[in-house]
Symmetry: C2
Subunit: 491 residues, 2 copies
Amino acid sequence: MLAALMNDALLNRLHELRDLSGVINLATWDQETYMPRKAEGSRAAQLGTLQGLYHERLVDPRVGEWLAEARPATPDEVAMLRVFQRERDRAAKLPSRLVKAIAEAQSLALGAWREARTQQSFPVFAPKLDVLVNLRREQADALGHQGERYDALLEGYEPGMRVARLTPVLKSLTEKLAPLIAAIEAKGPPRDPLAGKRFPVEDQWAFTMELLPAMGFDLAAGRQDRSIHPFSSGLAATDVRLTTRLFEDQPFSALFGTLHECGHGLYEQGFSAEHFRTPLAQSPSMGLHESQSRLWENLVGRSRAFWTFFFPKLVARFPTQLAGLSLDDFLASVNKVERSHTRVEADEVTYNLHIALRYELELGLVRGSLSVADVEDAWNQKTKQLLGLEVMQPVEGVLQDIHWAWGEFGYFPTYSLGNLYGATLYAAALKELPSLEADLEKGQLLGLREWLRAKVHQHGARLDAEDLIRQVTGHGLRDDDFIASLKARYG
Amino acid sequence: MLAALMNDALLNRLHELRDLSGVINLATWDQETYMPRKAEGSRAAQLGTLQGLYHERLVDPRVGEWLAEARPATPDEVAMLRVFQRERDRAAKLPSRLVKAIAEAQSLALGAWREARTQQSFPVFAPKLDVLVNLRREQADALGHQGERYDALLEGYEPGMRVARLTPVLKSLTEKLAPLIAAIEAKGPPRDPLAGKRFPVEDQWAFTMELLPAMGFDLAAGRQDRSIHPFSSGLAATDVRLTTRLFEDQPFSALFGTLHECGHGLYEQGFSAEHFRTPLAQSPSMGLHESQSRLWENLVGRSRAFWTFFFPKLVARFPTQLAGLSLDDFLASVNKVERSHTRVEADEVTYNLHIALRYELELGLVRGSLSVADVEDAWNQKTKQLLGLEVMQPVEGVLQDIHWAWGEFGYFPTYSLGNLYGATLYAAALKELPSLEADLEKGQLLGLREWLRAKVHQHGARLDAEDLIRQVTGHGLRDDDFIASLKARYG
């Protein structure tokens, strides 16, 4: 396909950039998994160099000439150049100096964030975070915006999305969730028959390593490791890295963490081979990427159908801990709704309140209406207001997420978009695959993976997120399916 | 120091190239340790891109202009530019296309080599090896030589060394070894009281993880993992990766493998902080690098003094396996001399015969007097002639080493140079550190590491290998110290 498209130089450059992007992901994965502690500075320099090179090779004026000469002949070729040109136009507005400064500040902030968690002290992290916020504000201004700096950052994660559109969506979601949570709480305190039990981490690990191939994750084209904060990263469609974390007293952390990250991983492994090493071998948006993880974690992973098959396997792995527990008891535990401090451990009902909190704070940081010095207090107050909880220590508060240490502002709202897109896609799957629930009850997950691969994964970045959703479901972004799925299970 | 030296652009480029080199080492380390199998092709492409970029940024004509303007003001600055200019001059002779082709052929050959080992079939590897040999011959011609292609390749590992000088050295060594081996064999068959015993690999691993800090390896600035073929790699002086391999019935594989790779690792961790991210933060030659691994593996690691302290620790780790074994018995086992098939398991007396074999074959391959199709037969015949052994399966013959799969021709002889340099340095250390042997008996290894750091490591590439040896010992390359050390222990 591609040979006909454009001159070799442009094609080679597209390949080179995808390769560099994969290597940046490798260096970042290593930083979070196996890198020795004292390598922090050298890795920051290496990542700075890689990202600087990526930027320089992307904005290279010759690429502009090659693009002007390119004559795309197929819809894929048109899409590829559209995606690439959009990325390049954004990058061209950024000086190479700023790109390198951000990369180095990210690595240093990561180290400070870890140290701050160890010391239980936000001020240890604050100066590095302040540098990052200022660099991102500078970046937003360089990218350009209509008075709303945050829009310029959001565009990097969710092309087309704007604060003016997002704020009402999150407001509406929060409003619809409030009565739902109140109704659930009115039924009495959550049942948690697993509380206080210990689940050896090696057995938890073994169970997650059973789940991955069952979901259709190819362990010859990917792997799972451990890290402080679970994440997934595609070094290539043939090389997808997942991480999880293991707590002896919180088995659901690894269990649902793996379901979540594997959802991302299946997307990365599902890109079409003919798109490898091109800009089409990626998701069009973070929100759509997140729809895949949320679909597996929540729509599949908290369903009765899924656990009908997997609960007996879990009992076999933890016979003493789960002795006497019924599937109903277990499902009550899996679907427990409870206001909590930690986003990644939050249930799917209260989860979007955590996002609303972060969205409001980072909007303030980027607008300049909130200073880094005040962000810990603001976090704690907002937690009280939205979730009714006191923050007792910063690791369960402002230091809980790695995202700001990565310098990511505008990323968090894509999680809520992921919830909405995921529920919409799953509703469509249930319609198109009449045997889906029966298959899940038999532990047969590959039919769903194939449907997702055909409808979503293989298309890569051919279409923008909402256009793809519209192509699959017949309608665009809406919260009806998400709220309906919650009501069905919790209402 | 550097600020005064040259324009920022040149300095930034030097930093960028060292960073890229570290990232290439990361991608290679990952390939050998954690990378999933199906990522072979994507990793080959990524490494090809990185090496192509490294090459392009090195030979960039602007770098030539910056070099012409540079006014080095200190001996370090002069050395730095000398080292960099030599690398650049070599690289400038190679077309970018060839550099990329070699990188991709290396990755594919690595996969074929692994598959060939699984299938016990050299022909599975041969076509990929043939591609590599031809690319390296092409490379040698592009670099230029006086009729001896191999010289052009050797220069890349051991600047200044030539076939005309090396051949007599290896011949002399082989000749001096023959009567020594005959005398040892005349004493009767080697004693091996450990034969047939099983050493759980997890306990072996734990013992090697005790050795590393005892030798002064900083585990906060490096790590050890497992791979098929042990190696060491400096991603930066603050990020040094070692690998070892564990066989239940061959405890010395991990033990001496770790001593060996840690010797390399101490060198990498010992570069001067003021040389970080510059061409001086590297060894001037592979032979000198190897001198550090050989010194720790053989001169220290096979000595009575070292085991006086560490043998009781080993007994504590393996009480049943070593029950009733005396230190003398153990030393006899450690210093067992026996003709064997496998280079990396060979004793230090017969080791250089393995190098002589490889040197002769690869010299033939590069000269064109030996074809890849004939190399397995030639290997087997030469093994018979030099070592008196039949090769029964290719993994103990032509498929045993990873080096040719890496495309490295000219690398093997640096191992013998390492033996000679290592023995010479250790003889100097014994003179300058009167308490050295007494310290080893107490398990105090840090004095030797400090001496090596002061005399060798911290200098990085300031001096060429033989000049550094001359500075430390007062004389250049010679085999007297090596042969003397063998005679002292085996004579």
